[in-house]
């Protein structure tokens, strides 16, 4: 994309830099400060929504790396999210492990499960690979639902709030900071993965796996790595969301949920990290806007509130189709166009 | 019958491939289109048959008329039913279908007008060899047989105009001769016209009535086939014959200059 006036990339470091201009530094710092101030002026309900959204972003970063960058289409992402959520909840409530260890361990656990599923990608690709991730979705959720003695079956289980020293992060406000910092770290890690040689190998595999192999990229290793990283992000996102809610049930991790994750990155734009933010925030805003609209409507038409879930499905499906048809590069691409426009304003070229 | 009037063709709205090409194919004649690779011959054929759209190509200027009607904006399948059949380069049979089914697919546009069997018998009168192969899966036929099959398949639609794209590619000379004889017979007996794109200029000009030479998206030379055969430039560049064989060094200079004059 175009750079602002008088900004030139003269070295490799400059070319690869995430933050390139002073304005961007200022904006980034402002955004982080603003983020840290959010709990000061929002209500608990709104804050819960924001925390959920942030943990979804972390999980969606995973599918972006796996599908958007490495091209391994996964329709079982929410199952990996579930693995993370349940591992962390189990570790904290059953083994009494500290939250701070449990969450990374949950990430690794989900990553390892992902690795197992990824093994099929050595032999399979395209439509046939979808089947193996779909199989993962069904098999993992089968185990979670039917292994009642450990997971509580369809009644779910509790995921206690974290403690650090003597402080318990029981309030939504305090938990917000944990997720916020996790999100910052996750974004930084994801961005670094995709701009280094690992990320470039992923992109090569996505664009043409045979050509990538001929170029000397070890297909098996990188595909497995993509599965591990993608699912580890899913696990961490899932674990954070689980402890935020305090209780987890299997119905938050259905196949439809997995489709939502795919939808986020389609709407945001495949193969961009910023796209994940755009996609998740866009859909979350849509969902909550619709909820508010319907609840205000339900004073006139009783029962309008129950329309929320199905109506959201229709709208979400439609939005996915519209994006694929008219803006296959997603919101991130729109954002680039907007930035270019604003840089050049008032001259159109 | 076919009149191409000063057309321009762009791919992906960027790459200009044909830069003002005009060409006439009269009734009941064979017109040969010669030229080097990448000259735009296949693009011209696709512009006429309408297959450009599937490759993000577009006719941006000029017009194509067939039988007095403009056809440059109608769908490819309608052009086929008007009587334009393209035989694509590279022996594109439907590999997983049998010979019979390939012919049936070719008969698709006329399925309401004529019976499949009578058309198939007509086609077999030109290509007797296909009759014995009709149960075979076409992907396993030899190159010559596949080439015959694709011409036969196009013939099933009883076109008024054949667009043949490099029928000789990769075939033994004796098979090329056989195929060209059949093409000539089709023209005479069916009253069809043929627009023939060829690298094999000798064979093409030997059956053609008229010839065009294309370079870099333009027609650089045209004339009756017999005249083209005698043209020294055509002889040297396309027929591979040289009268200047002895004075080698001088000829190279001259060659370069003449070549350059062509490519402008």
């Amino acid at each position: 994309m175009h750079l602002p006036c008088r900004t030139f990339n003269e070295t490799y470091e400059q070319d690869m830099a995430i933050v390139r201009t002073r304005l961007q530094w200022i904006l980034l710092a402002a955004a982080i400060v603003f983020g840290l101030c959010i709990p000061l002026f929002t209500g608990t309900y709104m804050l819960t929504v924001i925390i959920t959204t942030m943990s979804i972003i972390i999980a969606a970063l995973g599918i972006q790396i796996l599908t958007g960058y490495c091209g391994q289409l996964s329709v079982g992402h929410s199952a990996f999210v579930a693995v993370g959520a349940y591992s962390s909840a189990l570790l904290v409530s059953q083994s009494g492990l500290s939250f701070w260890i449990a969450v990374p361990v949950a990430g690794i656990a989900a990553g390892l499960v992902g690795l197992l599923v990824g093994l099929t990608s050595i032999r399979l690709k395209g439509f046939y690979l979808i089947i193996s991730t779909l199989a993962a979705q069904f098999i993992i959720m089968y185990v979670i639902i039917h292994w009642t003695s450990v997971t509580g079956g369809s009644f779910g289980m509790s995921a206690p709030a974290p403690k650090l020293g003597g402080i318990e992060f029981a309030t939504t406000q305090s938990y917000f900071y944990i997720v916020f910092i996790a999100l910052l770290i996750a974004t930084y890690v994801a961005k670094n993965i995709v701009r280094t040689n690992v990320g470039r190998a992923f992109i090569a595999i996505r664009d043409n796996d045979l050509a990538a192999e001929v170029m000397g990229i070890h297909l098996t290793a990188y595909k497995l790595l993509a599965f591990f990283i993608g699912c580890a992000f899913a696990g961490i996102g899932g674990a954070l969301a689980a402890h935020a809610r305090g209780v987890i049930t299997p119905d938050s991790y259905t196949l439809v949920q997995s489709f939502w994750y795919l939808g986020y990155i389609i709407i945001g734009g495949l193969g961009t990290i910023t796209g994940v933010f755009f996609g998740v925030i866009f859909v979350s805003a849509l969902n909550n806007g619709l909820a508010m609209f319907l609840s205000s409507l339900s004073t006139i038409f009783p029962g309008a509130g129950s329309l929320l879930a199905p109506l959201m499905l229709v709208i979400f499906g439609l939005v996915i189709i519209l994006f694929l048809t008219f803006e296959p590069r997603g919101l991130a691409h729109r954002w680039q166009i907007f930035k270019a426009y604003y840089r050049l304003w008032p001259f159109s070229y | 019958m076919l009149r191409v009037n000063n057309i321009e063709v762009c791919y992906s709205e960027v790459i200009l491939v044909l830069k003002g090409v005009s060409l006439d194919v009269p009734d009941r004649s064979i017109v040969a289109l010669l030229g080097a690779n990448g000259g735009g011959k296949t693009t011209l054929l696709k512009a006429i048959s309408g297959l450009l759209k599937t490759e993000e190509g577009e006719v941006t200027d000029g017009s194509i008329e067939f039988g007095g009607k403009r056809i440059d904006h109608i769908e490819p399948e309608q052009r086929v039913s008007m009587g334009i059949s393209q035989v694509m380069e590279g022996r594109m049979v439907f590999e997983h279908l049998t010979v019979d089914e390939n012919l049936e697919a070719g008969h698709y546009v006329r399925r309401r007008e004529s019976s499949l069997n009578s058309e198939r018998d007509m086609v077999f009168s030109y290509f007797p060899r296909l009759k014995d192969l009709c149960r075979q899966v076409s992907g396993y036929l030899s190159g010559g047989e596949q080439q015959m099959l694709v011409i036969a398949r196009a013939l099933m639609a009883r076109p008024k105009l054949f667009l043949l794209d490099e029928p000789s590619m990769g075939l033994a000379p004796i098979i090329v001769e056989e195929i060209f004889d059949i093409v000539k017979r089709i023209k005479e007996e069916q009253g069809a016209s043929v627009l023939l794109v060829e690298q094999n200029a000798v064979a093409a000009l030997s059956i053609a009535d008229h010839g065009y030479v294309m370079e870099n998206g333009k027609i650089v030379l045209d004339g009756p086939a017999s005249k083209l055969m005698d043209n020294p430039d055509v002889k040297e560049f396309y027929l591979g014959l040289s009268e200047l064989g002895e004075k080698k060094k001088y000829s190279e200079v001259k060659h370069y200059k003449r070549r350059k004059r062509w490519l402008v």
């Binding site: 229709v314 499906g317 694929l324 | 399948e77």
Partner: protein, 293 residues
Amino acid sequence: MSVILEHLVIGIAVGAVYSIVALGFVLIYKATGVFNLAQGSLLCLGAYICYFLSITVGLPFYVSIILTLVVAFAIGLLIEFVFLRRMIGQSHLAILMITIGLYLMLRGVVLIAWGVYSKSLPSYLSAEPINILGANVLPIFALSLVAAAILFAVFILFFRYTSIGVAMRATQDNQQVAQSVGISVKRVFGMSWAIASLTAAVGGIIVGTILSVGYSLDDFGFKVLPAVILGGLESVPGALIGGIILGVVEHFGAAYLGSWLIGIEDVIPYVILLVLLLIVPYGIFGLKRIERI
């Protein structure tokens, strides 16, 4: 011995239902190269339309079946025209995601129109089991065997002997060449969606009778995926065999493992499929794609 035979017969009968649903996948994939994840939604929609016509409107059941098929055919054409026509020539994965969008949309539409509670179709068959080869089978399963046999015979003949069938296979082989011989690719695409929607509706009516008509019937599309893949995505006979294998495996799984592992029959097909795919990556009857850079 007779117990095993009985399980086998019931498994085959259930498998016949699966193979009807699998057929819809194959029809669309064969002609258009689209892997339609919304196939189950078409099935669910078909079942609900049948419910609407027979119960809500109150038409005689056989009339409403025929009307359902007509409506399903039209819906298939409509979906192709509205959502997929623009995507011709796009990457397969993009089109696959369109069908995911369709799946979400159709589920929402069904929920809005008919709510979350399941409905039942009129009981047009007796609940008295009948005897096939020594096995007691509900009449609906016998009917589904007949329906599967008819559908598969019709489609195998259709693809072999009719011009439009041959044209559809030609389009699958190479779209551009198909266009060059005058086949309207758009019409072929529309036709295949319409036909697939019709078979889905047949499946929907049968499944709706066996279970009941609920929004979660669309999961049936995913349930039969192992059958589709097992048979190979392009093969009509493969769908039949894949469906029957799936039915038998599932039934035996439920009969012999179900007492220890409740609900295991839902995942057994996937486990077996995964193992099998690692050995035969293109299914039993699938075409091997030759890849070059």
